[in-house]
């Protein structure tokens, strides 16, 4: 056990985590030249394209240091606030963490919150200053930032470059010398932490775990504590680039387990694995049932594809347990599903995976958070509203509560004013303002989660010229003055466009919604009135003028081919539109409320 090191990487998106991980794998010979590709640990195409990690991954390296053979387990973690619970479980599986900071950009909000998580778990932090080879690198100042934050010695900060491989040897040395070897009793009853699972079409769910005590053996009868289910360990092993089956995985090590489980729901990240006959009394702390934060309807563009969509969502759920959904129907869109997501990125990912992996063209409706409504009749019992249409009649409502968050934003001093105005516009209350350095400020706000769902990220990026990072954690429900804003097209309410909005903003948003929809819905053969309403009261109106002429003038010998292709493209575009009443609505119009400030 004293030759095992378990470590994770904490980094902000784009600070070079995946590239540096690739270099570690190269250096230790974990990957042959033939297997090499960029962002090796990001196995989904989507992860590579977006340059982000969505799932956790683990890989084992072997490294000889001063004549001793060491086993290094790297647990790669997702880098987005939507997946912060997964990150916390990966951290709990390690004894050390590489804190990777971009030498040009310094520390970001997300990094700090993950760093605190790591410190709470008593992880040994190895600060790494990455991208030191960039002309824009500012190693002295960023080192000062790190020293301030960690209270470490400037000499402890390792300079590295994922691009050139510079400093990788020093990182490995530090991992071995500074990260403590795992502690644990190999003879004690089995106690292992599940930190991720992956769906494999042929073998079912592969569970990734870290053994704290005892050992897990092939053929052993085991139990998952939180779900209270029993399985046989059909196969156990360690994780090289490919899986290496073993007879057992012992205390201190990281491995995988195959039990024939078919659905991801049964494998909960954070759960404890123990022996069935001789269970541990010591379950791993920190387990939570992941709750979705953002809800939206997903509907097939073509109503006939409903069953196919259901099948696709079920398959997607097999490898993404954090996706929840239930059937719902909309007057405008017919049958579809109300889905719960971890956050906005998660929602986008699901939509994109449906399109890419299952070839489903879907409409996603305006996302919303989960509200609690209390009626006058029953003022103590919360009625959960995950869909604006479910909000009871305004006259019967006693009060409505919405989820609030604590938001942490780190930005440059120059942008503090802009960021504050934005947060205040978004109904935020400033709680704290700290100068981390003379140039870098940390702002803390309490604000409604719903405001984050609506175009917050994009606006934050704009007002700070990209120099702001953002993190949040839920702090509970608070009473709010909310109303339902309905949109009528051609005098018909389109329920899929309804949103719950703070009463004070309803007029402005209603007006902007009408304007945006006018822009997004193409002119059709008749006038289309667009109205925004609260209850029976119309608060704004626009009209899409009828299209009376769409025909281009000339069509001679040379024009035919080009014109045919143009009209074919137009037809393809229309195939992605949804007919509501007699109005054809393009996919992106359903998300109009998110783009009001574009």
């Amino acid at each position: 056990m004293k030759h095992i090191r378990n470590f994770c990487i904490i980094a902000h998106i784009d600070h070079g985590k995946s590239t540096l991980a690739d270099r570690l794998l190269d250096f230790t010979g974990a990957v042959t030249a033939r297997e090499k590709q960029d962002q090796l640990l990001d196995s989904m195409d989507l992860e590579r394209e977006r340059g982000i990690t969505i799932k956790s991954h683990a890989i084992q390296m072997e490294y000889t240091y001063e004549g001793q053979e060491y086993v290094l387990n790297l647990i790669d973690t997702p880098g987005h606030v939507d997946f912060s619970y997964e990150v916390s479980r990966s951290i709990a599986a390690c004894e050390g963490a590489l804190l990777i900071v971009d030498a040009a950009q310094s520390i970001q909000a997300q990094t700090i919150s993950n760093l605190y998580l790591a410190l709470e778990n008593d992880l040994e932090i190895i600060p790494v200053l990455n991208k030191v080879d960039l002309p824009s690198a500012n190693p002295e100042e960023v080192t000062d930032d790190i020293v301030d934050l960690l209270g470490c010695d400037p000499e402890e900060v390792i300079h590295a470059s994922g691009k050139t491989g510079f400093g990788v040897d020093n990182i490995l040395k530090a991992i071995i010398e500074r990260v403590p070897a795992p502690k644990g009793d190999p003879e004690a009853p089995l106690q292992a932490l599940i930190f991720d699972s992956v769906y494999n079409t042929f073998r079912g769910i592969e569970t990734y775990f870290r053994v704290f005590n005892g050992e897990i053996k092939k053929g052993q009868k085991i139990k998952f504590v939180a779900t209270d289910k029993e399985y046989y360990a059909d196969e156990v092993g360690t994780l090289k680039l490919n899986q290496v089956p073993k007879k057992s995985v012992k205390a201190g090590d990281v491995g995988y387990l195959i039990t024939g489980i078919k659905t991801a729901k049964e494998v909960k990240v954070g759960d404890t694995i123990t022996d069935f006959a001789n269970p541990t009394t010591n379950i791993v702390e920190g387990f939570e049932d992941v709750k979705p934060m953002v809800f939206a309807g997903i509907y097939p563009v073509d109503t006939e594809d409903y069953e196919e969509l259901r099948a696709s969502m079920e398959k997607l759920q097999l490898n993404d347990a954090s996706l929840v959904f239930q059937p719902e129907s909309s007057a405008a869109l017919g049958f579809g599903f109300r889905c719960g997501f971890l956050g906005m990125l998660h929602m986008e990912i699901i939509q994109e995976r449906l399109e890419r992996e299952f070839d489903m063209t879907v409409i996603t409706t305006v996302p919303n958070v989960s509200y609690h409504a209390y009626t006058n009749k029953n003022p103590d019992e919360a009625f959960i509203v995950n869909n604006p249409s479910d909000l009871p009649e305004p006259t019967t409502i006693n009060r409505v509560e919405e989820p609030f968050i604590k938001a942490t934003i780190i930005t440059k001093a120059d942008f503090v004013g802009n960021v504050m105005s934005l947060c205040i516009e978004k109904r935020g209350m400033i709680m704290n303002q700290t100068y981390l350095t003379p140039e870098r400020v940390e702002l803390t706000f309490e604000m409604p989660l719903a405001e984050i769902v609506f175009d917050f990220y994009d606006r934050l990026k704009t007002v700070s010229k990209g120099y702001a990072s953002f993190d949040y954690s839920p702090i509970g429900m608070k009473v709010s003055k909310l109303v339902r804003l309905d949109i009528l097209l051609n005098a018909q309410t389109v329920d899929a466009l309804s949103a719950l909005i703070h009463a004070d903003n309803a007029h402005t948003i209603g007006k902007k919604m009408c304007e945006k929809l006018k822009e997004l819905i193409p002119r059709q053969q008749f006038d289309i009135p667009i109205q925004a309403a609260i209850g029976a009261k119309i608060i704004s109106r626009e009209t899409i003028k009828a299209l009376r002429k769409d025909v281009t003038a000339k069509c001679y010998g040379g024009d035919i081919s080009r014109k045919r292709k143009l009209l074919e493209k137009q037809k393809k575009g229309k195939k992605r539109m949804r007919q509501v009443g007699n109005v054809e609505i393009p996919q992106q119009a359903f998300m109009a409320v998110l783009k009001l400030n574009d």
């Binding site: 002429k549 003038a553 001679y556 010998g557 040379g558 081919s561 014109k563 074919e568 393809k572 195939k575």
Partner: protein, 376 residues
């Protein structure tokens, strides 16, 4: 029956709205004419079993050619192809080229149809579009041309910024006063990468107004129909027996050979187009290479093209032809797609032909697109 199109890629000056292929340098004119003749020779086998019924000199500005150059090209066609007894031979001409003597000489040549780029009789419009001629030349050329030619078409542009409905009406009346039997008329269209697009973006020229253009299109249809013109294609009006035979072939899916830089050809299965560059064109032809790209049409492509062109003409889309050429499932598909448009009175079926109604005429691109079949 088939047609030959010859592209003359030269102009004296560039009209602001034009996105056709042309050069304002005449240096390579001789070389180009020889290359055109050689391309005719190189492609003579393409029309082996067909007679040439129409010859069309388009451009660019074909009226820049001398009579002997025109004669040389027509002779070359006769040398390599079988030409019908009474071919339609059209020359596109700009008013500033149509001097008294030029018209007289043209009348002596085999050219039997003139298509004159008048565009407007008003100075302000001509200036705005950077036409090479002025309003006096527009009038004078018609006076001369009508003395010698009876088959004349003129181009008129509507929807020009600043063109009022009254002025537009006046333009049409002027054309009618010369008893012109054919008019091609287009809305001023802002094509990408043209001077017009740049000027509008910079705010130098006011943007075109779709609603005004549509009103003027209505005025045009009403006025011309009252004067016995048949609106036989969306942008083309002709008196009986004066429809453009050459252009009708495009809309009826007949084969045509396009000679010269940027010219397009169609043989029933393939569309091809020559390179849009005079020097590269000449160089290739001199080296016995046809500088063209070819696209083979699938059944669906052909169906889509037939719908698109058919709806633009008075001949409409023949349901029998659809069934015969593409199969019964295409006809069923077409009828299914057409149903909602028929209910909205944008389409109607007459004598087994699918046609656009008056209201539908203005929307025929969108309708055609909806009737298309596409493979996703």
């Amino acid at each position: 029956m088939s047609g030959i199109y010859i592209h003359i890629p030269f102009c004296k000056q560039a009209c602001h709205y034009c996105d056709f292929h042309f050069s304002t340098s005449l240096k390579k004119k001789d070389e180009l004419i020889h290359a055109l003749a050689k391309e005719l020779l190189m492609r003579k086998t393409e029309f082996k079993h067909s007679t040439v019924d129409t010859i069309y000199f388009g451009g660019g500005t074909p009226s820049l050619l001398s009579i002997s150059e025109i004669q040389f090209l027509i002779d070359t066609i006769h040398q390599h192809f079988t030409v019908s007894e009474a071919p339609e031979i059209t020359l596109e001409a700009n008013p500033d080229d149509l001097s008294v003597s030029k018209v007289e000489m043209l009348a002596q040549s085999p050219i039997n149809r003139l298509s004159i780029g008048i565009q407007s009789f008003f100075e302000a419009d001509l200036k705005l579009m950077n036409r090479a001629h002025n309003s006096t030349e527009a009038i004078e050329c018609l006076e001369e041309a009508t003395k010698h030619f009876d088959n004349i078409s003129i181009d008129l542009i509507y929807g020009i910024p600043g063109l009022t409905n009254a002025k537009w009406q006046e333009n049409i009346e002027t054309a009618l006063s010369y008893n012109i039997p054919h008019i091609s008329s287009y809305a001023l269209t802002v094509e990408p990468k043209t001077a017009l697009e740049r000027f509008i973006k910079k705010g130098i020229i006011e943007n075109v107004d779709d609603d005004a253009a549509q009103e003027q299109f209505h005025i045009l249809i009403d006025t011309l129909e009252a004067h016995d013109f048949v609106h036989y294609e969306l942008s083309n009006f002709g008196k009986a027996n004066y429809f453009s035979r050459n252009n009708s072939a495009y809309w009826q899916g007949k084969p045509y050979l396009g000679i010269g830089p940027s010219a397009h050809s169609f043989n029933g299965n393939e569309r091809s187009w020559n390179v849009r560059n005079n020097s590269i064109y000449i160089q290739n032809i001199e080296n016995d290479i046809l500088p063209k790209e070819t696209e083979t049409l699938t059944t669906t492509d052909k169906y889509n093209e037939y719908i698109m062109t058919g709806l633009r003409t008075i001949w409409g889309v023949s349901l029998d032809k659809v069934a015969q050429d593409f199969g019964k499932n295409y006809k069923d598909y077409l009828l299914l797609q057409a149903e909602s448009f028929i209910n909205q009175q944008l389409l109607y079926i007459d004598n087994e032909k699918l046609l656009v109604t008056k209201k539908g005429k203005f929307l025929s691109d969108g309708i055609a697109s909806d009737l298309f079949k596409i493979n996703l």
